[in-house]
């Protein structure tokens, strides 16, 4: 991949010319899009008052046959469970790709001053921010756990809870700074959490097969409606998703934060 030296006048002229060509192409494309979209928009079903056969079926099946009240979880973890497994592995692949792209030979040194940009003052976070984040981080973590645990009852679930848990980790970074943050969190731990979560999901499907059922079919009793631990094997799947999402996003946070660390003489800047 090569690039222009943007400082020269000639390069600036080339960039300007390209900009005009691209904008003209966009206008043509936009007119084309509008022309194509107009009949499609008119052919769309009447907003808000057309039959929803699949939705109605799911809304009937969820409480009656699966004993859970959150229909989105019923779809994600049971009705289209194998799709969610694909989504899970897509997440795993994206996180692995990001980690491979970012991780270099810079090791795990915690003494280096990260977040420091050359020529910019590196202030210690103010005490008010540290206090606020120290208060908010555990609460956010608790909220994430609440979302994940009550996946079968109320809005929430493994994906939402996992992301909220990972954002609590970012609040710890804001409060403690890089060194304290890295001391508190080991990236190996989150790598393991992510892999274990995805594996738990996949293995849950194999347990069904071992019992003579189709892959990912529910094999535990569904429990009683409106009980936190209703849903049977959906709970295991949900736990797997929570671990994988929290671990995946935490890994991404750690890797991106590593990027801001100042390089030491021995480090390879390309990695």
């Amino acid at each position: 991949m090569s690039a222009l030296d943007v400082s020269s006048h000639k390069a600036q002229a080339t960039i300007g010319r390209r900009g005009i060509i691209l904008r003209v192409a966009f206008v043509i494309l936009a007119v084309g899009l509008a022309v194509v979209a107009w009949p499609v928009v008119h052919a769309m079903p009447q907003f808000g008052s057309h039959p929803l056969p699949y939705g109605d079926r799911v809304n009937a099946i969820g409480p009656a046959e699966r004993h859970i009240t959150n229909m989105v979880s019923a779809i994600n973890f049971d009705i289209r469970g194998i799709d969610t497994l694909g989504e899970e592995f897509m997440l795993l692949c994206a996180v692995t790709g990001g980690t491979v792209l970012l991780r270099g030979g810079r090791g795990e040194d915690r003494a280096a001053s990260p977040g420091h940009v050359k020529g910019r003052a590196n202030h210690r976070p103010p005490d008010s921010l540290r206090l606020l984040c120290r208060v908010l981080a555990p609460l956010t973590m608790l909220f994430g756990l609440y979302l994940a645990i009550n996946a079968m009852l109320t809005p929430g679930g493994g994906f939402q809870g996992g992301v909220v848990i990972a954002s609590a980790l970012l609040l710890i970074y804001l409060a403690e700074g890089y060194a304290g943050w890295r001391d508190a969190l080991g990236s190996e731990f989150f790598d393991a959490i992510e892999g274990l979560g995805a594996a738990l999901y996949a293995l849950c499907g194999f347990v069904s097969m071992g019992l003579g059922l189709p892959y990912l079919a529910a094999f535990l009793p569904f429990g009683t409606l409106k009980n936190t631990f209703s849903g049977g094997s959906m709970l295991i799947v949900n736990l797997g998703v929570t671990l994988a999402v929290a671990g995946g996003f935490a890994t991404l946070l750690i890797e991106f934060m590593e990027e801001t660390r100042t390089l030491k003489p021995g480090d390879d800047p390309d990695e």
């Binding site: 020269s8 907003f47 808000g48 699949y54 997440l91 990001g98």
Partner: protein, 135 residues
């Protein structure tokens, strides 16, 4: 009048797609470009949630509602959840690529990239690229 309101979600989705595309076309920074891609993706959220909507229906959560109450379509909501998760991870992957590009070439401007397969655009440095390889 109700016809216009019926069309609004789809027009909104097309509009979001359009402005996202314009942002990508006119972008001068790869991070901005990633944000524009997120705007394009939100048009798909709008289409999906618009399809599943039903007037006077409740959310598909029956914890405080009697099962059997008319509810909106949970199938598309689950799809939007997938969409959001994939959007977040793809953004992360793209931002990682941007970081690598910045480290290798020191450039984050899509307009400054040379089209693949084209002969080199003359640069001020006599054909020398910032990473030290000859063009």
């Amino acid at each position: 009048m109700s016809d216009v309101f019926s069309l609004l979600p789809w027009i909104g989705a097309v509009w979001l797609f359009g402005i996202g595309l314009y942002g990508i076309v006119s972008s001068r920074h790869f991070v901005h470009l990633t944000g524009c891609l997120a705007a394009i993706q939100s048009s798909s959220y709008l289409v999906l949630l618009g399809i599943g909507y039903r007037y006077g229906a409740v959310a598909p959560i029956f914890y405080d509602k009697r099962p059997g109450t008319q509810a909106v379509d949970p199938v598309v909501q689950a799809l939007v959840l997938t969409d959001v998760v994939i959007g977040a991870t793809v953004s992360a992957l793209l931002l990682a690529l941007v970081l690598q590009l910045h480290k290798r070439n020191g450039i984050v401007d899509p307009q400054a990239m040379r089209p693949m397969g084209k002969s080199a655009v003359p640069t001020a440095g006599g054909g020398r690229q910032p990473n030290g390889h000859t063009a």
